[in-house]
């Protein structure tokens, strides 16, 4: 395609693009959308962190509850292994 063809394409694209307008409240809408998504993301992270802490505590309590009083399940006594 010749340079004039390229110019015609540029002109056609410019003309069609010039007809496109954006809604006046676009910024507020987009801003509230990204804030909402951010809040949701933080909420999910907080919920996951809470779930992990609760699960870890639950497992630890279960392990401690099942152990015999004379048995150390967290720290092993080095003198016992000798």
């Amino acid at each position: 395609m010749t340079t004039s063809g390229e110019q015609r394409l540029e002109e056609a694209l410019r003309t069609v693009a010039a007809e496109v307008t954006a809604s006046p409240g676009a910024y507020r809408e987009v801003q509230s959308r990204w804030r909402r998504k951010e809040r949701r993301r933080r909420l999910i992270v907080a919920a996951l962190a809470t779930a992990v802490v609760l699960a870890t505590n639950g497992i630890a309590l279960w392990a401690l509850n099942d152990a015999r009083p004379d048995q150390h399940i967290i720290f092993t006594d080095p003198t016992q292994t000798r």
Partner: protein
């Protein structure tokens, strides 16, 4: 106010400061480029979803702001997201239109189309009938005036492939233009 450095430790104040910096940078970017990006999405084939596609791109940028190399990388990132999202949308519509009866939606309303000459409308229609990669390359090249490297970044392909897509697309459009010259 000076931007909060990324090197500072995470405290309530520094995190709030970084959030405020990100918001103001995004606001500036939005006011400078929003309309241009909506037009880009429209020309690529987003039709009435153009604003929605651009809004999603800004949300994605907001989420990935920390991962940007620099603030200058924000605009190319937005372009790449828009190109990708419009491509997904067009593919989705192609599938939908196979199954349901579809009434063609033009680039703009009938009233605004009156401003576009017949030959220009035919050229844009021919552009829209091109394969998606060729259409993307031509819009990014001849409307945004991007360099091959920038187009390659936006489309996620090599500069050589951009050259090939542009040449093939222009060759096909050349036939449409020749037809117009004959009339």
């Amino acid at each position: 106010m000076a931007p909060v450095s990324e090197d500072l430790p995470d405290t309530v104040e520094t995190l709030a400061g970084r959030d405020a910096d990100r918001e103001s940078a995004l606001a500036a970017l939005f006011h400078r480029h929003h309309l241009e990006l909506v037009r880009l999405a429209t020309l690529l084939g987003a039709e009435s979803d153009a604003e929605d596609v651009v809004a999603d791109a800004f949300c994605e940028l907001h989420r990935g702001w920390k991962r940007l190399r620099s603030e200058q990388a924000a605009l190319p990132y937005l372009r790449a997201v828009i190109v990708n999202r419009v491509r997904m949308r067009v593919r989705h519509l192609q599938v939908v239109r196979k199954h349901v009866e579809w009434v063609r939606e033009d680039v703009a309303s009938a009233e605004s189309q009156a401003m576009v000459r017949d030959d220009q409308r035919a050229l844009v229609a021919a552009l829209r009938s091109l394969p998606e990669r060729q259409r993307e390359a031509l819009v990014l090249r001849y409307w945004l005036g991007l360099k091959e490297v920038e187009i390659a970044e936006a489309m996620g392909i090599s500069a050589g492939a951009v050259k090939a897509h542009t040449a093939r697309g222009m060759a096909k459009l050349g036939k449409v233009l020749e037809g117009q010259d004959d009339d």
